[in-house]
């Protein structure tokens, strides 16, 4: 029996929302040794938790009435004026069981010397997980597509895009962004594509999927042509919507989350294919984010089956729907890993080796660290390298060169 006099015992505290990201993810650092030799790790979906930075975004609103409204609401105690996120139904952290969902509350260093607080936190996450680049999305803004308030999505999106361009992206080249498109206003989207497509650090354009607009509407064709011309992808980011009539039948967050995230991407993808958008814009690349992977073989099978019988209702298609899906890109999170055989079949069907892009979704509650990919036994080393970084480098036009410490 040895006592501890010759060994140092370090106490590890309970992890809370105030825990430093480097401590929260320290186990991921150990697993990161598995991809240490890989040239490039790109995380195509990580998130800003906007609440703390909302006042900065509000300050950039270009509509004076909305800006004064929002600032007055901030003074009155509202955390996120003009946002349509329902704070009382924000169950992601499971009553504190998953604290990183509630943050960030960790201490950061002096911004004068270390950069914007958000930049510091993102760097910590990237360095701890062993990632070269992270593509940032908002969180609460994922629901803005259903805001009934006139101008809310338009002006908040313009303010957010400016905040990215002017405040965040210049501070660290490893942080990448997408132009948030206020998709309910096609002409305003076109202006944003013109104004932002050449901004350093902007690697594409994102549509938050939670909305009730048909992606095949003629009003979007000029926008798609413009985006296709840039060579950058159009990214559909899934999201939850408990206010949707069907989902109001679901009484637990788990149910709504499991279905709702996939639901909107299912609808947009189906419209995208059935209306032959890929035939009209063959060079327009699309990336489908945060719906997981299990929906992909479902939709491939379902649409192929129906198309063969009802081809007259999708006459623009020249091949099976699944073949169009095999040319699209998908992010890997949340990777449904409970059925490894099904996951392997999924990855085979979707051409994961060339079409799948690693995503962490950090700091959300169901995040996936990079070893979610490196520990998959059925993937070759080449496939892992592609999924973890090379596919995203090709999609976003990034050099294949390590930039992480």
């Amino acid at each position: 029996m040895n006592d501890r006099s010759d060994q140092t015992v370090r106490d590890l505290p309970e992890i809370t929302a105030a825990t430093d990201t480097r401590d929260y993810l320290s186990h991921a650092t150990r697993f990161a040794q598995q991809h240490e030799a890989y040239d490039l790790i790109i995380d195509v979906d990580a998130h800003l938790q906007e609440a703390q930075f909302w006042p900065e975004i509000i300050d950039l609103l270009e509509n004076d009435v909305l800006k004064q409204t929002a600032q007055a609401m901030l003074k009155g105690g509202s955390a996120m004026p003009l946002s349509n996120l329902a704070p009382g139904q924000n169950f992601q952290s499971m009553a504190g069981r998953v604290p990183h969902q509630s943050g960030p509350r960790e201490l950061t260093d002096d911004p004068e010397t270390s950069g914007h607080r958000f930049v510091q936190i993102v760097r910590r996450a990237m360095n701890t997980m062993g990632v070269d680049y992270q593509v940032i999305f908002p969180t609460a803004m994922l629901l803005l597509g259903t805001s009934p308030v006139d101008g809310a999505e338009l002006y908040l999106s313009r303010a957010y895009n400016r905040w990215l361009r002017d405040v965040i992206l210049p501070q660290d080249k490893r942080i990448l962004g997408l132009v948030y498109l206020p998709f309910n206003s096609p002409e305003d989207c076109e202006k944003l594509v013109k104004d932002f497509s050449n901004v350093p650090g902007i690697v594409g354009f994102t549509v938050t999927s939670v909305r009730h607009v048909p992606v095949h509407s003629p009003s979007y064709m000029r926008l798609y042509a413009m985006i296709e011309e840039t060579g950058k992808p159009l990214v559909f980011h899934a999201g939850p919507n408990w206010n949707d009539a069907s989902f109001q039948m679901l009484n637990r967050f788990i149910s709504m989350h499991a279905l709702s995230f996939v639901h909107y991407n299912l609808i947009h993808m189906t419209n995208w294919i059935v209306n032959a958008i890929p035939e009209r814009f063959p060079k327009l690349k699309t990336l489908w984010v945060e719906g997981g992977l299990a929906w992909i073989p479902y939709l491939m099978q379902r649409l192929d089956h129906e198309f063969l019988m009802r081809q007259n209702e999708a006459p623009g298609l020249k091949k099976l729907p699944s073949e169009y899906m095999k040319e699209m890109y998908f992010s890997s999170q949340p990777m449904e890993q409970c059925h490894p055989n099904a996951l392997k079949v999924t990855m085979d069907m979707m051409n994961a080796e060339t079409q799948l892009l690693f995503a962490s979704d950090w700091p959300h509650w169901d995040f996936n660290p990079p070893h979610t990919v490196t520990t998959l036994p059925f993937l070759s080393d080449e496939a892992k390298r592609n999924i973890l970084g090379l596919n995203a480098a090709k999609l976003f036009g990034l050099p294949i060169k390590r930039v992480r410490p």
Binding site: D11, L12, H27, R30, R97, V98, P99, H371
Partner: protein, 129 residues
């Protein structure tokens, strides 16, 4: 394998938990109703720091004899430690996931003697395995 004295029994409240790291090995030690339990601080899901998570009672569905649900209630006699990465909940007494026991924390031998608490560190560096 080496046995380490990690402190006195009196230094643990009941219930309480202490997570320690010695030579890169992390172990969570729990006292519950006078008994000690210890597990590797590594979630079987994706390797998160399971023992450093929140401790809460298990949640049950309260179903009446005529099969109606009265909603969720806390169990009176089961405490779980919850992995802060993704919320996997483990019964502190058994280390097993509350619903799917094939997922379980790896136990570490723990004993008390003379008012002191000893754990037996496993050979392998658990934090990197």
């Amino acid at each position: 394998m080496s046995e380490i004295n990690i402190g006195t029994v009196a230094s643990f409240d009941d219930p309480s938990r202490r997570v320690i790291e010695i030579a890169g090995i992390q172990v969570g030690v729990f006292q519950l109703d006078g008994e000690f339990y210890a597990y590797e601080n590594k979630c079987p899901h994706l390797g998160g720091p399971a023992c450093q998570g929140k401790i809460l009672p298990r949640v049950l569905e309260d179903v009446t004899e005529d099969k109606k649900s009265l909603g969720r209630v806390f169990a009176r006699n089961q405490l779980n430690v919850i992995c802060p990465w993704h919320g996997f909940e483990f019964d502190i007494r058994t280390g097993a996931h509350v619903a799917v026991p094939k997922y379980r924390l790896r136990p570490v031998a723990v004993r008390t003697e003379g008012g002191e608490v000893f754990i037996t560190l496993p050979k392998k560096n658990l934090a990197t395995s």
